[in-house]
Amino acid sequence: MFQIRVHGRGGQGVVTATEMLSVAAFEEGRHAQAFPSFGSERTGAPVVAFCRLDDKEIRLREPIMEPDALIIQDPTLLHQVDVFAGLKADGYVLLNSAHSFEQIGLGELVKQRGHSKMSTLPATELGLKHVGRPIPNVPLIAGFAALSGMFKLESVIKAINEKFSGKVAEGNIAAATEAYELVKQQMEDRAHA
């Protein structure tokens, strides 16, 4: 079983992100379970949502306390919520930021965990550029597909087409594609560095 925890704020599409991840996994023939942390949702309040992936039926209903991967949709949460709680030693981290981990003061974390499973992505900027709204969720799940190699970009695009239509779908697909390429490039650059 592979477990992903997504942190963000109300209004950033945190729950939708996990739902789309589960749809992408479903498109690839896997079992997936996505669920929110069931708070009273308010715009701006910290929100957590979860996604489990497996090759067999998923029966477990507890929240994800020891994730294999973290997607952090809002860097300001780092000062407010213990987002890294329980993250496995070899877990993935994808953070929405136009800056590197070192630039935002998380250099130590990169030293501990190594670069190969950590990435930042200017997801809010990509949302603004392609969709006209500062919603980082779709670029982040596409970025996560590139970071983890767990999903094909096509599966993410299928999930987008299931959720959105028309211009919004087109914009999201463009944002996802750019995000995927950006993270992929980062990974390749690091592999050669």
């Binding site: 749809v23 669920f35 929110p36 998923i58 477990l60 507890e62 306390m65």
Partner: protein, 418 residues
């Protein structure tokens, strides 16, 4: 067709396939997504003919369902928590009148303190209302139980609640096989009501009944639920024939052969229970599971048969009979009367408290060693409880309990991080 879909949406699609003619509902979390989706389907005429009636309260929702069902229309509504409590008078009427309404209960706690999260207090509070109650373990089962529920209700002319854990199931995206219209039509015949109001042939429904006949009417409601004990397994078998999968029935066991310790539970927590039991089995513990699907009627015979060969059992339930202990546990203990089995009650998950594998692991091992109290409150924060009890001893004017406890919780979490 296999879909990766939200539980509420899947249930809405299943309801639509059952061709309801009247849907009336008042929004309340965590049920809202179901009736929202149905409202959209009625508006787009994807579900037609069907009248979607916006009502001003849950009391009105059940009252409209009573009226439409009495007029011979297949009627559906959904609710949860305080919404169910608000419609209670009409809930009893629907059962007393023998109207086969199907209602989803997206199980949620009852206030005060106000709480939107999941437990089973709401539908269990209607235990004796005369409604049947089936509990879904997964969203697939929620879909399947709704299809069976219409058939069961209409066969017996009695109303039924299909209970699914609020948020945990209603808001979870998972893989669900949504049947085709042909499959559902082949299973569920059109509604042929035992009684219906027709201006051309006027009858009355809802007469005042005095002491001379009241007990007989009530007994017949009980007799119908006893008939349901026969009918539920039959309908599950027919369902399997038509849809090719096991769903529903009265009870279901898991790894129960040679089990010395049995865990009894209802609803979605069975998934976490089964995962925990798998781990304990790997370590050599003889432990199994009994899932109860039909809570009303309560399958005394089947529960007894499933437990009679174990040494001890734990009823893990998301409900509390204040001043008594377990609600489900009381029925389970009734089922094993005279067997000498050791039974424990574990109250867990009230108001949405997470039920984790780690906590269950500990609980089940303690049960195996028979170290549990007769009633255990899983993961109760005793520090906070004792602090409040001490506050009440010290101060006659100790104030509201919930606010005191929130204050204490706030203090302790800031102490941790500060």
């Amino acid at each position: 067709m296999l879909k990766q879909i939200e539980g509420s949406k899947a249930v809405a699609e299943a309801i639509a396939l059952c061709r309801p003619e009247v849907i009336c509902a008042y929004p309340i979390s965590p049920q809202t997504h179901i009736v929202e989706a149905l409202g959209e389907m009625v508006k787009s005429e994807e579900l037609s003919p069907c009248e979607f009636i916006n009502v001003e309260s849950e009391f009105a929702a059940m009252s409209v369902a009573i009226g439409s069902s009495a007029a011979g229309a297949r009627s559906y509504t959904a609710t949860a928590s305080q919404g169910l409590l608000f419609m209670v008078e009409a809930v009893y009427n629907a059962a007393g009148l023998g109207l086969p309404i199907v209602m989803t209960v997206a199980n949620r706690a009852i206030g005060a303190p106000i709480n939107i999260w999941n437990d089973h207090s709401d539908s269990l509070s209607q235990r004796d209302s005369g409604w049947m109650q089936l509990f879904a373990e997964t969203n697939q089962e929620a879909v399947d139980l709704h299809i069976q529920a219409f058939k069961l209700a209409e066969e017996l002319s009695m109303p039924i609640m299909v209970c699914m854990d609020g948020f945990i199931l209603t808001h979870a995206f998972e893989r669900v096989d949504i049947p085709t219209q042909e499959q559902v039509d082949g299973y569920l015949p059109p509604f042929d009501p035992r009684q219906s109001l027709d201006p051309k042939e006027p009858i009355s429904i809802g007469a005042m009944v005095g002491p001379e006949a009241f007990m007989e009417v009530k007994y017949l409601a009980h007799a119908k639920q006893m008939q349901a004990l026969e009918l539920i397994p039959q309908l599950a078998a027919e369902f399997k024939q038509q849809f090719g999968r096991e769903s529903g029935g009265l009870v279901r066991t898991y790894r129960a052969e040679d089990a010395e310790t049995m865990i009894v539970a209802m609803g979605s927590v069975l998934g976490t229970v089964k995962d925990t039991v798998d781990e304990l089995r790997e370590q050599g513990h003889k432990i199994g599971v009994l899932g109860i699907i039909s809570y009303r009627p309560f399958p005394l015979k089947e529960v007894r048969a499933a437990l009679v060969n174990c040494k001890r059992f734990v009823v893990l339930e998301k409900s509390l009979a204040v001043g008594m202990g377990g609600i489900v546990a009381t029925d389970v203990r009734m089922a094993v009367t005279g067997t000498g089995l050791k039974g424990f009650t574990a109250i867990a998950g009230l108001g949405g408290r997470n039920i984790t594998k780690a906590s269950l692991h500990k609980l089940f091992l303690e049960a195996e060693q028979e170290k549990l109290e007769p009633v255990t409150f899983v993961d109760l924060d005793w520090d906070v409880v004792n602090k409040q009890l001490e506050r009440e001893r010290q101060n006659r004017h100790s104030g509201p309990i919930a606010e005191n406890i929130l204050y204490d919780k706030g203090m302790s979490s800031s102490a941790k991080f500060g």
